[in-house]
């Protein structure tokens, strides 16, 4: 059985990935409109407050969700959910950087065995180091049976 406390001690709160982005206004509009959004701050690139909807911010967190040396726990991780906290507008055309670390590791026991949940947190900054948003990606891994 995986030792959750040992995993926490080894992996929590250590940046393991860093990515840079420049957001495309047209793609931001497409995502907003496909989501049913009609507010011009999300659908009109000429609006003075034009910015990304939370779902678009969340999409930036796709990619590597685990440190390269994280142990294999069982099956493929499933996408258990996502969260976004917005601190400031995320705008098109400016350089952004996302730093990712593991924010939590915990387990849940069910009838079919133990599930391990891992939260990968990406903190998004602009080129002036303003913290714009935080995204959490929850991965669910069914632990491999030891029998």
């Amino acid at each position: 059985m995986v030792d959750i406390d040992a995993l926490k001690q080894q992996f929590l709160n250590k940046d393991f990935d860093s990515k840079t982005f420049v957001l495309d206004a047209n793609k931001m509009v497409t995502v907003a409109q496909a989501s049913g959004e009609s507010r011009p701050e999300f659908t009109d690139p000429d609006h003075p407050s034009f910015q990304a909807v939370p779902a678009f911010i969340c999409s930036l967190a796709s990619g590597r969700h685990l440190p390269i040396d994280f142990p294999a726990l069982g099956g493929l991780p499933m996408d258990g959910g996502k969260a976004v906290t917005r601190h400031a507008p995320v705008r098109a055309g400016t350089p952004l950087t996302g730093h990712t670390h593991l924010a939590d590791i915990y387990d849940k026991k069910g009838r079919s065995g133990r599930m391990i949940l891992i939260v990968a947190r990406m903190e998004l900054f602009d080129d002036k180091q303003n913290h714009l948003a935080t995204t959490d990606s929850r991965m669910v891994i069914r632990e491999k049976s030891s029998t």
Partner: protein, 139 residues
């Protein structure tokens, strides 16, 4: 009923039900825009070959639907935080609807908390979540 300010909100109030566009064409556009090209989001047959019941609606598109529900309820709402749990796959071209209810009101900080659920037409929950929303203060 849509609202203007925090003063219009009542604890336990239900937001107007929102029926998003889950057509395959719209799902495909969303997936391309976020860089998630692939058969599972674009084509029912290709998705079935991957073992899914049909082309999938990306989970984060569900988050987009929930956010739009909030904005349709209050045109000046600011979604500070939204947390979604992907409980089961959403399938493109299958109708779904979103329900939401006000579970907390913080008058001092002008915030409300919402519980939100996205269900299919069989009343099965596909995505659920919570949102913390800042609303304009009255006056």
């Amino acid at each position: 009923m849509s609202i203007q300010t925090l003063a219009d909100v009542e604890f336990g109030e239900q937001l107007p039900t929102f029926t998003p566009d889950t057509s395959l064409n719209t799902v495909r556009k969303f997936a391309h825009a976020v860089g998630w090209q692939g058969g599972r989001f674009e084509d029912h047959e290709r998705a079935r070959k991957e073992g899914f019941p049909g082309a999938l609606v990306p989970g984060i598109m569900g988050m987009g639907f929930l956010t739009s529900t909030v904005h349709q309820w209050c045109a000046d709402a600011h979604v500070e935080q939204i947390d979604t749990v992907f409980r089961a796959p959403m399938i493109a071209d299958e109708p779904c609807f979103i329900e939401a209810v006000v579970t907390d009101i913080d008058e001092e900080r002008s915030l409300v908390e919402l519980d939100m659920t996205l269900k299919n037409n069989l009343d099965e929950t596909r995505v659920f979540g919570t949102a913390r929303v800042r609303l304009p203060k009255a006056g």
